[in-house]
């Protein structure tokens, strides 16, 4: 669902620590940094704890619900989807990365951009496009006369999520392959190993940590995804939780399932954290440029076909289908008029979320970078875990809590914005942290010794030097919030519309023309600037 942060977060544990910033542990951080940087997580953290207390407190009831919901089946179904998506996304991502880093295919930079492009298309938009293309009344059937079966259920979810996630595997594998030292392979070849043996005994082991990290990232994404599985009507955890929540008066089953999903996700998150630490240990910088491997005619042709198919199914087809449906709807005089209130809602919610996230990211990262301590490390970790938890469970925890204890805040824009900012804070902190690491800490010391306090120093020295990075982080939060679905569905105030909600609800009711119109507006408003941002500001984003 998100671009940037999972990859950002990677840098948080691996970056070599600047000795100068390590030198100041004896100073205590001003208290207001903790308030400004940590307060944002409280409205999410407290409800999550309350959710656990509630479910564990009602343990006998919870057990019976777990049993009656056929939870085991649910776990198996979700696990199956996770395994399938992870395997296919990894195979595609690593294959494409290898072709575009290690071989002599032409136009590699342009291909690389196109291959990574599905990153900016929300999973529910990809799902929508395949639903609208397939089936007896779909576009393909219309154009060819062949009544295709509709792509939905497990195959549909598998397809949509593979296309949404392989770019992550692609980017991680690309980075790992670029760092690869060719001397290792040459050494093996020089010792008489065949090409196949070199690949098996040298190349693959070097890639394994990166592949492990990518697998966990993709798995976590798949487990958390709500949009694609719900449109594809595949009963994975998130879809069932949402159905239990919206369809019943008794919300205990939704709470119980949320706790189970959170526990599964936490396992993956912690495993991912550990794998990131290890991946850094293995990777090294290439001592000289890689010599691309020459592909013979057949090999090259196969390579081009593979990449081209990827670009077609990942980008061309989804966008083409949306455009075709929009034109179809217009021709049939359907109401596909631009929904200004949805655009306004998306812009307002996203802008506020970005602003709040930036305001929290700066103090949080000053704590993490300049006042390194156990507490500040935990703050950083909480930011990352909040980001990685399935957002639907976070939203439900907040709903349960706010209904009981926060009366007037329940279903208010304020609460929605706070939750947006909290769950996407990791994107703002990633960029802010990178910017902060580029600021020489002695510049801040200089300001202090010139008679200015911590706050004045922040305002007059640090902020002017990091605002670009902070703004990139804010823009990432803005654009990610724009695409956000489950939290908006659950926490939005009555009458508050966003483009994402409109795409999803129209698609859910099979109004494909209307859904396509909103989806195209959403892509235009978010994807294009986002892509520019990611490409232009790589230093802050990857």
């Amino acid at each position: 669902m998100t671009v940037g942060a999972p990859i950002d977060a990677r840098s948080e544990l691996n970056e070599p620590t600047a000795p100068a910033s390590m030198r100041a542990p004896s100073r205590r951080a001003p208290w207001w940094l903790w308030v400004a940087g940590g307060a944002i997580l409280v409205p999410v953290g407290v409800p999550l704890v309350a959710l656990f207390v509630r479910v564990v407190g009602a343990s006998s009831e919870a057990w019976s619900i777990l049993f009656s919901l056929r939870t085991v089946e649910l776990v198996v179904r979700s696990a199956l989807l996770v395994v399938l998506v992870t395997a296919s996304a990894l195979a595609i991502g690593v294959g494409a990365a290898w072709l575009l880093v290690r071989t002599d295919l032409r136009f590699k930079v342009a291909w690389g951009v196109l291959v990574a492009l599905p990153l900016v298309i929300p999973s529910y938009v990809i799902a929508l496009s395949y639903l609208a293309a397939s089936g007896p009344r779909g576009l393909i059937a219309d154009a060819t006369g062949i009544p295709l079966p509709v792509v939905s259920g497990l195959p549909g979810a598998w397809l949509a999520l593979t296309l949404s996630t392989y770019p992550y595997a692609f980017l991680i594998a690309t980075a790992a392959l670029r760092r690869f030292d060719p001397a290792l392979e040459e050494a093996a070849a020089g010792l008489g190993a065949s090409r196949a043996r070199v690949f098996r005994t040298v190349t693959l082991p070097q890639l394994r940590p990166a592949m492990g990290a990518a697998a966990l990232l993709v798995g976590l994404y798949t487990l958390s995804d709500f949009g694609a599985v719900s449109l594809m009507r595949f009963d994975a955890f998130t879809r069932v939780i949402y159905a239990q929540y919206s369809g019943r008066l008794d919300r205990t089953p939704a709470a119980v399932l949320s706790v189970v999903l959170i526990l599964i996700a936490l396992t993956l998150i912690l495993a991912e954290e550990r794998s990131r630490g290890r991946a850094a240990y293995f990777s090294r910088r290439a001592t000289r440029p890689l010599v691309p491997m020459h592909l013979e005619r057949t090999g090259a042709a196969a390579g081009y076909v593979f990449i081209a198919i990827l670009v077609i199914v990942g980008v061309v087809l989804p966008v083409g289908v949306l455009v075709a449906w929009l034109l179809r709807g217009l021709a049939a005089n359907q109401t596909v008029s631009v929904q200004w209130e949805a655009i306004a809602g998306s812009l307002l919610g996203s802008a506020l979320a970005a602003f709040v996230a930036m305001a929290a990211a700066v103090p949080a990262m000053i704590l993490a970078v300049r006042y390194r301590s156990t507490a500040s490390r935990w703050l950083e970790r909480s930011v990352y875990i909040t980001f990685s938890l399935p957002h639907i469970t976070v939203a439900l925890a907040v709903v349960f809590f706010s209904v009981r204890y926060l009366g007037p805040l329940y279903q208010s824009l304020t609460l929605l914005v706070i939750v947006y900012a909290a769950i996407f804070l990791a994107q703002a902190t990633g960029a802010t942290r990178a910017a902060l690491l580029q600021v020489n800490p002695s510049v801040e010391d200089a300001s202090r010794s010139l008679g200015k306090g911590a706050f004045t120093t922040l305002r007059r020295v640090t902020l002017p030097l990091i605002w670009k990075g902070v703004a990139v982080g804010g823009a990432l939060v803005f654009l990610t919030t724009m695409k956000e679905l489950p939290v908006t569905l659950i926490l939005r105030p009555t009458g508050f519309e966003t483009l994402a909600v409109r795409v999803w609800s129209a698609a859910d009711e099979l109004f494909y023309a209307r859904a396509s119109a909103s989806a195209l507006v959403l892509l235009l408003v978010s994807a294009v600037p986002m892509y520019v941002l990611v490409i232009r500001n790589r230093e802050f984003v990857t």
């Binding site: 004896s26 010794s449 008679g451 007059r460």
Partner: protein, 336 residues
């Protein structure tokens, strides 16, 4: 300007002691160099005085104000300490004038002009730090530190980022500027020639504490122990036997007023050893390094021991030449 008084300061980082019982006295208006090998705690000491580091124990007093001590810890911004950082730490988003004006309260134009003139940077006010050479950045850093009229000025390895020709020039310049401003200053360096040439008083540090404080010519000519002797310059160390009023070594027997008796260590600077060409001299030149303004000879004594001797460019002595030696100064240490 004020004096600085540090007493019994200790600071350790996770078990590793950076400062142990660090004492230092900086008189008003003097320039003190804090010199020692890397890891001896010099920079930590400076950061403790500036307030960037809180000591585990000990007291720092600036003038008559205790800035850190039992129950007291004045934050850096209220210590009135001007700091010049190793990498200058100029604010990259501000002009030279804005950098210098940063610490000045109230109207600053007059003060900025005055300080920029002092450091020889008239006409640089509107430049940005990235448009300046290393030496110019150094001057701006100094001007910025001096502008708010601090009680003391601290300089952390101020010359280490300059290339050799600039470094010699800036040493003289920094000393001139500090003296013109009447500053009480402490600067940290690991370079002994810098410590000796810029400072009024040299404080030699080893393993977190000060081992000797004295004017440059004294620490050089009368080092506290053989380690200080060899840290501050070339030295020849020979064993000797002291009796009342005399000490005899492989280089000869000299009158000696110290109280030590028995086996002692005798330290002699190479320039204190004078070789005289002599057809059947007792010692022989075995090697020569010629530097232009002087030459360093390696001379083998009749005992087989080899000592260094630094003399002027003439007479040119060749390996194989036989010489007799005269020694005009020496220092006696208890034998270790």
């Amino acid at each position: 300007m004020s004096s600085i008084h540090c007493s019994a300061i200790s600071r350790s980082f996770g078990g590793a002691a950076a400062l142990t019982d660090f004492d230092l006295e900086v008189p008003v208006g003097s320039i003190v160099s804090l010199v020692g090998p890397s890891g001896s705690g010099k920079t930590t000491a400076l950061r403790v005085i500036a307030g960037f580091e809180t000591p585990d124990h000990g007291t720092v007093t600036i003038g008559d104000r205790t800035v850190v001590g039992p129950g007291v810890n004045v934050p850096p911004e209220r210590r009135r300490v001007g700091m010049v950082f190793q990498d200058y730490a100029l604010f990259p988003h501000m002009t030279v004038a804005a950098n210098v004006a940063y610490g000045v309260d109230g109207p600053s134009v007059g003060r900025v002009t005055e300080v920029l003139a002092l450091v020889g940077l008239k006409g640089f006010a509107e430049r940005f730090p990235n448009e300046l050479s290393g030496g110019e950045q150094q001057r701006v850093a100094l001007a910025r530190a001096l502008a708010p009229q601090p009680d003391v000025v601290l300089l952390d390895e101020p010359f280490s980022n300059l290339d050799a020709p600039q470094r010699d020039k800036m040493r003289r310049e920094v000393r001139r500027i500090l003296k013109a401003a009447g500053a009480t200053a402490v600067f940290v360096t690991h370079d002994q020639s810098e410590a000796l040439s810029v400072a009024d008083i040299v404080a030699v540090m080893r393993a977190g504490s000060v081992v000797q404080v004295a004017p440059p010519h004294i620490v050089y000519a009368a080092p506290a122990d053989p380690w200080v002797a060899s840290f501050l310059g070339d030295s020849v160390l020979v064993e000797g036997t002291a009796t009342t009023g005399l000490v005899s070594t492989s280089l000869g027997t000299f009158p000696h007023r110290g109280g030590a008796e028995g086996t002692v260590d005798v330290m002699i600077r190479p320039e204190w050893i004078h070789p005289y060409p002599q057809q059947n001299g007792s010692a022989v030149v075995v090697d020569r390094e010629f530097y232009g303004h002087d030459q360093m000879l390696l001379i083998e004594l009749p005992t087989g021991q080899r000592v260094q001797s630094r003399i002027g460019p003439r007479p040119l002595l060749d390996p194989g030449d036989r010489v007799d030696l005269a020694v005009d100064e020496f220092v006696v240490f208890p034998h270790t």
